[in-house]
């Protein structure tokens, strides 16, 4: 490794992964009902293809991809469609969801199906199979994987970057996936490399997961150019642009995608899911979720059917402690607080973190003292101090001129701000306001 495996700036929140880092993944019992929103991915929501009263089996398709940047949705449990209506979504809104009453005493065995041998498939057929299985990025953004696997023909890709950083505090899903299913991860990488036609793959893992690094390194196939890179523990190491900077020392230009510097980035959990599609023939209907935080009785890493309600999931972990204060979907840096415990686990839900009063960000804010800590923290070298001042007086065009679009809402500025100014929230609101202004104009 001739280059420094680092990106500049960033913050060092306490990682708190010891709560679940060494707990083996186990399967959670099926709940009484599952709620499957049709909008679980970036892009257009799926189109529903079942009707109330229909009986569906585990793995059956219930929603069809609507367009290219979309993904199908499958039933995660055998049961009867109870209704199709608006239901609380983890993002705080209500979204159309298929509500399935799970059949009691069902073996939850999927229909017998033909599992294609991936070795005999062309790249196009492989991508097609991934698309039909509803695979999306499991790292949080839930971007449909088949789109990533088919970069434009005129865009050369020379390396596949596998993201095992898991830089968000608390979360250990990727960590446990790598430690317990290294062969599956490597099979997924092999299939992805074949789809993309690349010769080289690099796996970036933060150094705080030595067992995962060891397992992945031990399972590394010798016939492919796959390298494992332990990385500095720093948030947001797992952000695509930071990871590419660390591993390849390439900077993704403003407003561009990783493929513009010849890289495709995929998270390890998604890679393992791709392998699972060709191992079991099942679509993406369950995922590994870390349920953790000081506000939950028994933190755990669980295989959870997509659509399980937060309430049921927390109950399976012994429930909340009396001082539980905030339930967050995803990590505490970029995750969203859920308003309603009926909101279901989605394909992109990496974890459920329950924070207690003392973990939460305080409410009191102070005036900006221009300490410059945010400027020092911003991984994409923006000036959050200036942007924050502009946001407060609603000078959105000036914010745009100062590259608000580059902000990925990683939250480093808000995290480090001693005056507790909600900078990333201001930026998110400003991005929305700008979009609205443009739509009107």
């Amino acid at each position: 490794m001739s280059y420094q495996l680092k990106f500049r700036h960033g913050v060092h929140p306490p990682d708190l992964k010891e709560l679940t880092g060494s707990i083996r993944i186990r399967r959670v019992p099926f709940p009484d009902e599952v709620i499957l929103p049709l909008r679980q991915h970036t892009g257009k929501p799926a189109k529903v293809i079942v009707r109330p009263g229909d009986r569906v089996e585990r793995g059956d398709k219930i929603g069809e991809a609507d367009g290219y940047i979309s993904a199908p949705v499958h039933a995660s449990a055998t049961g009867v469609v109870r209704d199709i209506d608006l239901w609380p979504h983890p993002d705080g809104s209500y979204a159309t969801a298929v509500r399935i009453t799970v059949e009691r005493f069902s073996a939850q065995a999927p229909r017998p199906r033909i599992i294609p041998d991936w070795r005999g498939l062309t790249p196009e057929q492989l991508v097609r199979a991934v698309q039909d299985a509803g695979v999306v990025g499991l790292g949080g953004a839930a971007f449909p994987t088949h789109v990533k696997l088919t970069p434009p023909k005129d865009q050369p890709i020379d390396v596949l970057v596998i993201n095992g950083c898991e830089c968000e505090p608390y979360l250990t899903t990727d960590h446990r996936t790598m430690a317990e299913y290294p062969d599956r991860v490597h099979l997924g990488i092999r299939i992805m490399m074949r789809c993309l036609g690349v010769e080289r793959a690099m796996i970036g893992i933060e150094k705080n997961k030595p067992d995962a690094i060891a397992a992945i390194e031990a399972a590394r196939p010798r016939d492919l150019d796959i390298s494992v890179h332990p990385l500095t523990v720093k948030y947001p190491q797992g952000a695509e642009k930071m990871l590419i900077k660390s591993l390849l020392d390439r900077e993704v230009p403003s407003g561009k995608l990783p493929m513009h510097v010849g890289a495709v980035v995929q998270n390890v959990a998604s890679v393992a899911t791709i392998a699972e599609v060709f191992e079991t023939g099942l679509p993406l209907i369950e995922r590994i979720v870390t349920v953790t935080g000081h506000g939950v009785m028994e933190p755990a890493n669980l295989i959870v059917p997509v659509g399980m309600k937060t309430r049921d999931l927390l109950d399976a972990c012994g429930g909340l402690t009396p001082d539980a204060k905030e339930v967050v979907f995803g990590g505490p840096m970029m995750g969203a607080a859920v308003a309603d415990l009926d909101a279901p686990v989605l394909k992109g839900t990496t974890g459920v973190v329950v924070l207690t009063e003392s973990d939460c960000r305080p409410v009191a804010t102070y005036p900006c003292i221009r300490c410059g800590h945010c400027v020092d923290a911003c991984p994409v070298y923006l000036n959050p101090q200036l942007l924050g001042n502009l946001a407060m007086v609603e000078r959105y065009e000036d914010m745009e001129a100062n590259r608000l679009a580059d902000c990925m809402l990683c939250g480093c500025c808000s995290y480090t701000c001693p005056s507790n100014i909600p900078l990333s929230q201001l930026f998110q609101a400003s991005k929305l306001a700008l979009r609205k202004q443009k739509a009107v104009a």
Binding site: P367, C371, G372, L386, R403, S414
Partner: protein
């Protein structure tokens, strides 16, 4: 499971350990040894002057400031730093007026914490120096007993100073500038010299500054660049004319340079937000300090050097905007 009352907040849901009040109060705490050493050298007068300046600052903040603003600790820092920049024999009422001016015209008039352009403590001192030039440059030397007040601490407001029999002495910089008499380096470092309260023990201030820098409560680049610039510039001049210009170490440890570089130039509000800007800011202060000390009308130039560079901060900030990630060219902020 019953639904508890949940908090719904925007991400990030956790925050770093430092808050603005913790930073401010840790600065206040780091001043305790500085105050202690000043008290050791100048006796109980130190506490009188400090209490006067701080009371002036706090009363003004309480009357005109934001509700609860005293709790953030910034007015206490202003008062203490102003007090430390004053001579021990200053009448307490003058210190009080200085503290009140510092907060009212140095900070609140701009809109309170975070909005001011100039360091409030230095602005208060500049005001006092303009209003009471004699009192501000009278440096009483040690009386017979440690317990005795120095100078005119208890003079009544606007009464002409009592004629005191206390002897006065000159500061090392004054001696050097006007009488070409150097002071021993060791005396300068431990602070056994005349001068303002906080102009004495450079070593104690450096240790306090190191503590603050380690906790990231001050940007080490500012004092580092000031020290480097002053040392290099002074060393250069010293090699040219050793009799007229003092050496680098003497320049570093005399006068208010330590207090100014560690505590006043690093005031977060009035220093640049970028690290590159902090280097420029510090180099500018260092150059101005040496220029004023040697070729200006005053023996000491730290105060005006910092105030002048404070005024440059918006320009420095604009010129040192970070290079956007993945962009080839620099982008400047709009006006």
């Amino acid at each position: 499971m019953t639904t508890p009352r949940l908090l719904i907040a925007a991400s990030p849901h956790i925050s770093g350990r430092d808050s603005t009040p913790t930073i401010m109060w840790s600065v206040v705490g780091s001043l305790v040894p500085v105050i202690a050493i000043a008290t050791y050298y100048f006796g109980p007068s130190v506490l009188l002057v400090l209490v006067g300046a701080t009371a002036g600052a706090l009363v003004t903040e309480r009357i005109f400031g934001r509700r609860g603003a005293i709790g953030d600790g910034s007015a206490t820092i202003t008062g203490l730093l102003l007090g430390l920049s004053l001579p021990a024999g200053l009448p307490v009422w003058m210190a009080f007026v200085g503290g009140a001016f510092a907060i009212a015209f140095g900070k609140l008039i701009f809109g309170g914490l975070g909005q001011n352009i100039f360091n409030p403590a230095l602005l208060g001192r500049a005001f006092l120096q303009a209003a009471f030039p004699v009192a501000l440059t009278t440096w009483p030397i040690a009386p017979q007993s440690w317990w005795q007040f120095r100078g005119d601490n208890l003079a009544l407001p606007f009464a002409s100073p009592r004629v005191v029999d206390a002897l006065t002495g000159a500061t090392p910089l004054g001696l050097m500038k006007f009488e070409q008499t150097p002071t021993g380096l060791w005396d300068l470092m431990i602070g056994a010299t005349g001068g303002s309260l906080g102009e004495t023990s450079g070593i104690v201030i450096l240790l306090a500054g190191a503590y603050l820098a380690l906790r990231k409560h001050l940007n080490w680049r500012i004092p580092a660049s000031i020290f480097l610039t002053v040392a290099l510039f002074a060393a250069l001049l010293h090699t040219i004319d050793g009799a007229r210009y003092a050496g680098a170490m003497a320049m570093l440890f005399s006068g208010g340079l330590m207090l100014g570089a560690v505590y006043m130039a690093t005031d977060m509000v009035t220093s640049p937000v970028t690290n590159a800007g902090c280097w420029i800011f510090g180099v500018g202060i260092g150059l101005l300090v040496v220029v004023i000390r040697y070729w200006g009308g005053l023996a000491e130039g730290v105060m005006y050097a910092i105030l002048l560079m404070n005024a440059m901060v918006p320009f420095i900030n604009r010129a040192t905007q970070p290079r956007p990630f993945g962009a080839r060219t620099k982008r400047l902020e709009p006006s």
